[in-house]
Symmetry: none
Subunit: 263 residues, 2 copies
DNA sequence: AAGTGGTCTAGACCACCTG
DNA sequence: AGGTGGTCTAGACCACTTT
């Protein structure tokens, strides 16, 4: 017996799904297609409506559930608003990079999601023996080898933050990180599925920048900034990264969704 | 012809869904049931696994899609982690009574959880016609009636923040809010289950306090503070509250858990 | 009344993990 | 190999908004 006897034919519209990457949800591909076909193309301006869900189903040959997953994703990233009985309206885009603080996700990824780029400057990568505060925050013995990565983040050529990352050498080989680094230490860690990186605990502190940091970022001393002090952990609770970031709110927007707790 | 002829019988397992509130997703009810039946009951301890999705489908008489919606919600709030091929594991709850910015929870509730008290001072309650920025943030027509509540928050007698809340009169009668208010507008809204308050979207901005605000809080002008600008919403996305808070980090610690996104 | 999004179901097949 | 979660489909009915 062949598998083709076991049910009705699936997905009649697209060609045989042979080459589809199974690891990427179809909804994400549809989301990207809608973004390209209607939003970034300018076919639908801010304030105007996307085609109806039924139309999108026909156009892309997918089920309504899949189209709705795509639309939900677009709504979560703030590109559209969906109203019952009305349809999906494209929203005007913010000039700033919106960062969902509650998501363990690099600035690079956020920026790319909205079609912008961030760069690094004054990049300084070194291997060090951690002790004191760093050893405590990494939960390792003083003297443990670690990779230290420091840099300025640039947005449209403007300095927007200073970031310092430590990763113990026994978490991931420094050479590996350096080889795979393209702006974000977190992205390297997330890409290594075997590490099981799951969450970070992050302190959020408003600070007035001291003279040295202000010079780095090209602002006056005393400028208000957001200091994020973060321990990235595996599912088992092992610390794999201590990250400190001083960020200017000027070109960055930090937001988060606070959810009602039921437990 | 009756509607019952138009398709196969739906939901055979549960009793007639007569009294179900149609506005609450079934997935949310299943999520609450799972929480009560397995997690808060202690039937499944941290580190142990929930029943399989198929078992949960049978137990609650719902489809797998619905069970998965419930599990996704539990994962988003950090109660469980779901792994392909492994199942759903209950997570240990954070020891530190998180002043968790990611939880929709009043300062009063947080303080009570750690055995402290917060008080209000300079309380100012008024009915106003909102316009401009306030109307925009509340998503109402300019001129709409709303309740405005302003006050200083005190922690151990020390001023720690200035909070401003708007609630449109057609969300909840101003008299009702005033009657039930005991320090937190959010707590009043959460207590009204019929409002279906579910989440808030919160902007997090570091600011240097201006002279007026600094005087209110008894600090020097230019002191760094955290400005939280928040729209509290129902499950349907209706804004029920616009809240602004200027908070001193001195006596408060803001932290949050950033979670990896799998969707 | 018509059209749109909102929710839910039953079933199918795929990918991952563990024996 | 068997069981688990991951994804997707087609179809049905409900609720909201506009005509």
């Amino acid at each position: 017996m062949t598998t083709s006897e076991r049910g009705p034919p699936r997905r009649p519209v697209p060609p045989p799904p042979a080459r589809r990457r199974t690891r990427r949800p179809l909804g994400d591909e549809i989301r990207d297609a809608i973004t390209a076909d209607f939003i970034t193309s300018g076919a639908v301006q801010a304030g105007e409506r996307l085609p109806t869900e039924a139309d999108l189903c026909d156009r892309y040959g997918v089920s309504r559930v899949t189209v709705r997953a795509a639309l939900r994703s677009l709504q979560e990233t703030g590109l559209i608003v969906v109203r019952q009985g009305l349809g999906s309206t494209v929203l005007p885009q913010s000039e700033t990079i919106t960062s969902g603080l509650d998501r363990l996700c690099s600035f690079e990824t956020f920026a790319r999601a909205v079609g912008r780029e961030v760069d690094s400057a004054e990049l300084d990568i070194a291997e060090v023996d951690v002790d004191g505060e760093a050893a405590r925050r990494l939960a390792v013995e003083p003297g443990t080898r670690a990779l230290l990565v420091q840099r300025v983040k640039l947005y449209d050529g403007q300095p927007v933050g200073w970031i310092v990352d430590y990763v113990p050498a026994d978490v991931l080989a420094p050479a590996t990180i350096v080889r795979e680094f393209s702006g974000s230490v977190l992205d390297v860690l997330l890409a290594h599925a075997e590490l099981d990186v799951e969450y970070s605990d992050c302190d959020v502190v408003p600070v007035a920048l001291d003279r040295r940091m202000a010079v780095r970022l090209g602002v006056r001393a005393g400028t208000a900034a957001l200091y994020l002090d973060e321990q990235t952990c595996t599912r088992q609770g092992r610390v794999v990264n201590w990250s400190q970031a001083w960020l200017l709110p000027e070109h960055l927007r930090f937001c988060l969704r606070r959810r009602r707790q039921y437990a």
